[in-house]
């Protein structure tokens, strides 16, 4: 009889001790939020274009963390999709939007035609359009993410998406080597 009581007492004590340890750990090492969301968000291009169907990059990152498709980000392109696939441990999916040219673009307002309606200013997710009512607007090119969202609301269609000009600063050495690389790959295939 005593041995049963001892066993019960010992087990109860153990349960209590471990309970305390677990309770402490749950407070001490608590993780706020889902870290995956931040990791996914860091991979997204932050154009805030909404082409994924979510209002901004973070909501889409949250959706991906909750199991949404990873192929809804045309500005990020295949490269971003692959990175997310790797991070989330899911299969790669072809982009569902029509293949977008990888050339980065910026909005440009034809200032003669602008009537100053401020509609594009309201549409811009990064406040990169400058102007006031009945005054000409202009795009702060360095802050423009090229998301296209200002083109649609313009009542006079005076916004163009212009491919970013290649300058000495953003020139990619790759451009010159593209034909060279094509030849290399062909040769390798022949060698194999």
């Amino acid at each position: 009889m005593t041995s049963i009581l001892i066993a019960v007492a010992v087990l109860s004590l153990l349960a209590l001790v471990f309970g305390v340890i677990l309770g402490f750990a749950s407070k001490k090492f608590k993780v706020e939020g889902n870290p995956v969301i931040d990791q996914v968000e860091a991979l997204l291009p932050q154009t805030q274009c909404g082409q994924c169907g979510y209002p901004g990059c973070r909501p889409y990152a949250e959706a991906i963390a909750n199991g949404d498709h990873i192929n809804k980000c045309p500005p990020g392109g295949t490269a971003t999709m692959e990175k997310i696939a790797e991070l989330m441990g899911v299969d790669q999916e072809p982009l569902n939007a029509e293949a977008q040219s990888s050339v980065k673009k910026v909005a440009y307002i034809r200032e003669d035609e602008c009537i100053g309606c401020t509609k594009c200013i309201q549409a811009c997710p990064v406040d990169a359009i400058l102007g006031a009512g009945k005054l000409m607007h202009t795009v702060i090119a360095k802050d423009c993410t090229g998301c296209d969202l200002c083109v649609e609301p313009c009542p006079v269609d005076c916004i163009d998406m212009i491919p970013l000009e290649t300058t000495l600063q953003n020139w990619d050495w790759k451009l010159n080597t593209i034909p060279v690389k094509v030849i290399h790959s062909e040769q390798e295939e022949q060698a194999c």
């Binding site: 291009p45 932050q46 406040d127 953003n170 020139w171 050495w173 080597t177 060279v180 060698a191």
Partner: protein
Amino acid sequence: MLTILEQLDKGSLWQSPGGIHPPQLKTLSNQSAISRLPLAKRFVVPVPLVGEQATLTVTVGDKVLKGQILTEGAGFTYLPVHAPTSGQIIAIKQHATNHPSSLPTLSCIIEADGQDTWCDLTPNSLNQLSKPQILDKIKQAGIAGMGGAAFPSHVKLNPASEIDLVIINGIECEPYITSDDRLMRDHSHEIMSGVGVINHLLNPQRIIIAIEDNKPEAAQAMQDALNRSDLPKGVVRVTVIPTKYPSGGEKQLIQIITGKEVPSGAIPAQLGIVVHNVGTAYAIQEAIYQGKPLIERVVTLTGEHIGQPGNYWLPIGTTVADALQSVKFIESAEQKVIVGGPMMGYALAELDVPILKGTNCLLVPSQNEIAPDVDEKACIRCGECAVACPALLLPQQLFWHAKAEEYDKAASFNLKDCIECGCCSYVCPSDIPLVEYYRVAKSALKIEAEEKRQAEQAKIRFETRLQRLEDEKNAREAKAKEAAAKRQANMKSSDKDAVAAAMARIAAKKAQVTTAPSTASSTETATQTSQAVVDPKKAAVNAAIERAKAKKAAQASAARNDTLDSTSESVIVDDKQAKIAAAVARAKAKKAAQINQTDMVPTEVEPSTDIIDDKKARVAAAVANAKAKKITKENQTDETALAPQPTAEIESTTDIEASTDPIDDKKARVAAAVAKAKAKKLAQANQTDVTILAPHPTTDIESTTDLEATTDLIDDKKARVAVAVAKAKAKKLAQANQADEADTTIESIANDSITAQHTETPPTLKHEIASGSDTRLIINDDSAAYLTPEQIKKAKVAAAVAKAKAKKLAKSAEQEEH
């Protein structure tokens, strides 16, 4: 153990890792002294900083002198650009530049006048200038590192930390280049005085002039110059180091001289060391002692396809094509022109590009010298490249990852420490252009980092915007709440009559909404209601209350069937009500006039609109509107009703013209409103009894003149009053459609009492109109007196008038139903 200074004095050298010994071809170009070429006709001076850090000080067509500054700007690393010769600026445009991409940059194209006239130069001596002045002079001379990287020299001469050792780099390890060699031989004294300036600025413990042992003449010349100079003994020494490529690299040279390795990502200044090129020392000396900016440099033109290889003073901005032309360049198909040496240089895509401050060599090799590109073979993992690498990297791994486009992995193998010296490509038995791969990977990494930075920026901006929108929304809500509270307080503070009046108003509006078949009138009422709600001003509330009171009084009087009584009472109550009456009278008078209108009116309004400016366009629009409406109504028009009043028509037309002529374009709107109202009245005429309206031509003229007078007297705010009147009329029209008897409506408008007017006869009506217009005249004077200073109030009065009318109409509709 000797200290580092003692070892430097002893001439001890350390071994740098890696390196190669390519065949030397310096004798091709270093046999003759530096000479000059005939002045080119055209110079291309790139001004890449314009638009970022600098602005142009010249425009197309300006005459410039040799050495004149073309840009001005601010910024730590800003360097001014100078005209290389005297002449005229014939264009400032995008022009291909001396860069592997040959991308266009903004450039000044200068046509030389052949005079080569210097601008004013101010030579100084070191004693005349303070250190900041010297640094500024060096900056204003536009001196950049002449070794190739073209980093602004004044930055390196003004370091944050103490400098113990200055190394003057005369290594020139590239196999073909001899520009520094010839400069040291021909201008050793000038270089030494430049070293003196550097010594004065940095005051280091030692200055080492490092020269490779394949240039004994240069080393000898420098030693002689040093012996004859007045530099403090023991500080400066000429050290000859063994020939090896790439000893001339900054980090490699420091390692050879001091044995110290510059940490990855650090600059030599952190070790207390600064390296300057001999060409830079020469340029500094020119800038201080002669006042000359850096507008020319020694360029080695070499290679077997150049007829006269050698070193030449070339003004910066000379095009490569011009330079090659004057040294008997042997042109051939697919000729490569390499800028820099064979190891680190790049081939030019086109020859119409300028010589820059860092352009030390133009190499035009024959097929014997540099083999054409051979096909790359597979890497055999021989490890030669790792042995040759002076930066102790693992070229194979870098190549592997760069080829697979796994740039982040390449970066983890310290790709950024690659100095692109080309040793690995040189030793590669598989002819792999390794440096090309690294350059691609480096630029990809650079772009990736830039995109990351931009994404971060965009995210911050997006979040800030969301925050802003949220704040604005909260502010709006708070304001609305505050306004509601205020309104509530006002309601409570005023007497019970106000509540009753409000209730009555609501009932009236409801009645109107249910009875009015035209949606237009109901929506207008709705907007007015919302306006009334939005307006938080106490004044407006009070006005409404008083109006309600007035109406009640009028109704009470109407119940007694005493119309004269009601008019007198309305005069007594307060001037607000009087205004209502006045407006009503005005409206009525105008209506009477308009009934008589024919098609001629709008066409007569049109010529006057032509006179006035673009706002008039709206008038035209309104006229068109009116016409359209009139046409539809014409089908129903009773022609006999329109016939009898030709005189009234003419008069009213002249009135309209008179009111539009003063060019005050806001007035044009009044005219427009009048025109609109007329058109509507015309429609109304179909349903009204002509006989009742017949007696009114005289009042019509009077009231129109009155209207004109008021618009003339007062400014554009008044115009709104008129517009409001016109609007009210429009509503009245809607009401009229429901009215069984037109005269009832008119009379009910004239008097605020509605019920008692059914049996009124025309004479009485006329009398009432006269009294109404009299009252209005008085009121107008009053309002003009107190409204002109406070025009905002006026607008409110107009709104109140319109509102009152609308309500009245609702009432009348109600009455009609009963």
